[in-house]
């Protein structure tokens, strides 16, 4: 009997398609991810890019290590007049010239300044649920497991990709995010996929080319 026979049961196929169940080394059934603009990273991710309806968590050692460079190519393809990209409580002012140089039309980027962590999470959740944005990026100062789970559910409900940027020290804690990427600067600029729903995270880091400087 062939151990890797195609599943006859329709419900099993559903589970495979939803990536709730995966086979050891099998490639995903469909690559519906949003291309990251980094071929090496696309290859490492089961959906071939950012999960389009889930929460992605990006863990940083400090600001300015290439975290925006990682997401800007995808945002440049997503942002449009009808469905802008939402930035909720960014830690600095987005530099218009820098973002435009990466291909983003800043008319399609909406910035929301919330005063507290709770309001940041609330604004992110509202934006995700509304399905009126093409992507929602957030920098909550504090977010626990429950808050991230709410964002994950909201991203799923609104069918919108969500990105949350957090400090690297959270890497130890479990997270409901569908994808977790940790940025490293030593020995070289690189990123490690810590978790990706639907596959085993790749063992090797992906080099991150720094450009624009």
């Amino acid at each position: 009997m062939n151990p890797v026979a195609a599943p006859a049961d329709a419900s099993l196929t559903t589970l495979f398609d939803a990536r709730r169940l995966w086979r050891g080394r099998a490639r995903p059934t469909q690559a519906d991810g949003i291309p990251t603009g980094l071929a090496a990273l696309d290859d490492a991710l089961p959906q071939g890019g950012w999960p389009p309806t889930s929460l992605s968590e990006i863990l940083l050692p400090m600001d300015g290590v290439g975290e925006l460079q990682l997401v800007l190519p995808a945002l440049a393809t997503l942002a449009s007049r009808d469905r802008p990209v939402m930035l909720v409580t960014p830690p600095y002012l987005p530099g218009v010239a820098g973002w435009s140089a990466r291909g983003l039309d800043m008319r399609h980027v909406v910035i929301v300044q919330a005063a507290s962590s709770i309001e940041t999470l609330w604004a992110m959740e509202q934006s995700l649920r509304s399905a009126a944005c093409s992507a929602v990026l957030g920098w909550p100062p504090q977010a626990d497991d429950r808050a991230l789970r709410r964002l994950q559910v909201a991203a799923d409900t609104g069918q919108t990709p969500a990105f949350v940027f957090r400090d690297r020290r959270h890497v130890e804690h479990a997270s409901p995010a569908a994808l977790r990427i940790e940025l490293e600067t030593r020995p070289a600029p690189q990123l490690r996929v810590r978790k990706c729903r639907g596959a085993q995270p790749p063992a090797h880091p992906v080099p991150l080319p720094r450009r624009g400087a």
Binding site: D63, G64, L93, V96, V110, I111, A123, Q126, A131, T157
Partner: protein, 478 residues
């Protein structure tokens, strides 16, 4: 013509009761001079203990240990009566507001011409009853060829219908006289004459009636039977909305205002639906004892009339208010009521069910986080980094992006960059400008890599190029 009449036997009590959160003390409505207070109406909890309309207040006090006694406010009842007429205007262009005494009221509406829109009478009747129940008004309903006949019929038997004008006289003849709403004291006088049914009154000669009771009684009978040539005055909805809820206790925190606010915005939505309009701006006033009221302006980007959206936006604005004094009344005023154009949605829209348009999302965020919390940025032609971008006005023009390295994060103001092992990746780029407006600036900008691997955009005085100290950080190449 066919008229539906809605009799509101407990209008004054329901008006007060629907503004109170449920589950409070029994409510008794009282009226009359201070020395001779009597019970005008009582809610179900009070009725259960034997309190009845017409009893002296002392009797109610003897029957009930704890209850809330509220004095009848005719102005408030009249205001609510107006709102119900505005609600009825949604169903018909011909609405009559029939006033009554003793905290009661009635609204009549012509329904025959609205049949095609709202269905035939049993369906139409159900719509009206569902609306009234949802608004919290007990009611009696009947259908007849004239508004006054419909009212008499509703008083006599709830749910009755006469749709044949030929049988009107015959059906009315059987009604007791007290339901006919006769003017003045004529009912008592007629009872003294042994006339107890409408049929007996209609059989009396008109000339004798005119001599004994005057013209008002005959006019009333003509209106009742539809023989009148003077139509009753029609109700016209006002072009502004103003409603207030008085509290008979001090409200200390904003959260307790949610319930009355929901009623106010719900009434506003009903009013708007009646005149097929929307609201773009309304003012909430929080009244204080001995201080000027706190005004909360709720502005919207486009006309809106959905009750849930109005409530949510108003609550978002209200939650940002810091209460300096206790609140004694809440008032909602809307003077600009533009036409409402419902937003269209594509039949094959693939978006999730509870999706809301971008405008509505931005409004919701602005309502809670403040007007200036949601914005977009735009590049300007100014070369100075501090002025190279600004918050985007409503109408934006496009500026070609520069080809020089520019950071993706910009610090609101430069700070000293501390660190060792800084490595210069690019630079210098001299920016020298602003002599014309006093914001003179001469800097050499460099792209630096810190020992931790961050890419920084930093500057120093022109021509200096320090090693580790003396850099000013202005942005990150994130």
């Amino acid at each position: 013509m066919l008229w539906a009449c809605i009799v509101l036997p407990h209008l004054a009590l329901d008006t007060l009761q629907r503004r109170r959160p449920p589950g409070e003390q029994p409510l008794v409505l009282i009226d009359g001079p201070l020395q001779a207070r009597h019970v005008l109406d009582a809610d179900a909890a009070a009725q259960a203990t034997g309190v009845r309309a017409g009893q002296p207040l002392t009797t109610a006090q003897a029957l009930l240990a704890r209850f809330e006694a509220l004095a009848h406010d005719p102005d408030l009842t009249a205001q609510q009566h107006d709102l119900l007429a505005a609600w009825a205007y949604r169903y018909s262009a011909e609405v009559l507001r029939l006033p009554d005494t003793g905290g009661r009221g009635a609204v009549a509406l012509e329904v025959q011409r609205s049949h095609r829109l709202f269905g035939h009478w049993p369906d139409f009747e159900k719509k009206l009853r569902d609306d009234l129940t949802a608004m919290g008004f007990r009611h009696r309903l009947a259908l007849a060829p004239t508004p006054l006949a419909a009212r008499a019929l509703a008083e006599a038997s709830d749910g009755a219908a006469i749709d044949d004008p030929g049988r009107l006289r015959q059906r009315l003849a059987r009604l007791p006289l007290r339901h006919a709403g006769l003017p003045g004291r004529s009912e008592e006088t007629l009872a003294g004459m042994g006339v107890h049914q409408l049929g007996a009154l209609l059989a009396l000669p008109r000339a004798g009636l005119r001599r004994r009771f005057g013209a008002p009684l005959l006019d009333h009978l003509d209106d009742l039977l539809g023989d009148s040539t003077h139509p009753l005055p029609r109700y016209l909805p006002p072009d502004r909305f103003d409603l207030r809820i008085e509290f008979n206790f001090d409200v200390e925190n904003i959260a307790s205002l949610a319930f009355p606010l929901r009623r106010l915005t719900g009434d506003l939505a009903d009013f708007l639906a009646g005149r097929d309009g929307g609201v773009q701006r309304f003012v909430l006033s929080l009244g204080h004892r001995g201080h000027a009221p706190t005004r909360v302006v709720v502005g919207l980007l486009q006309p809106e009339r959905a009750p849930a959206a109005l409530f949510e936006l108003a609550r978002g604005r209200l939650e940002r208010v810091a209460l300096a004094h206790p609140v004694v009344f809440l008032r909602l005023r809307a003077t600009e009521l533009p036409p409402f154009v419902p937003g269209g949605r594509d039949l094959f829209d693939q978006r999730p069910e509870h999706a809301i348009p971008l405008e509505q999302l931005q409004e919701r965020l602005r309502a809670r986080l403040g007007d200036s919390a949601v914005y977009r940025l735009q590049a300007t032609v100014d070369p100075r980094p501090d002025q190279a971008q600004r918050i985007m006005p409503a109408k934006a023009d496009h500026v070609a992006p520069t080809t020089r390295p520019r950071p993706t994060w910009l610090l609101p103001r430069p700070i000293p960059l501390r660190g060792h092992g800084l490595r210069i990746l690019a630079g210098p780029e001299r920016i020298e400008s602003g002599w014309w407006d006093g914001g003179d600036l001469r800097r050499d900008y460099y792209v630096l890599e810190t020992a931790d691997g961050q890419h920084a955009w930093a500057f120093c005085p022109p021509g200096e190029r320090p090693r580790d100290e003396g850099w000013m950080l202005h942005g990150w190449f994130a």
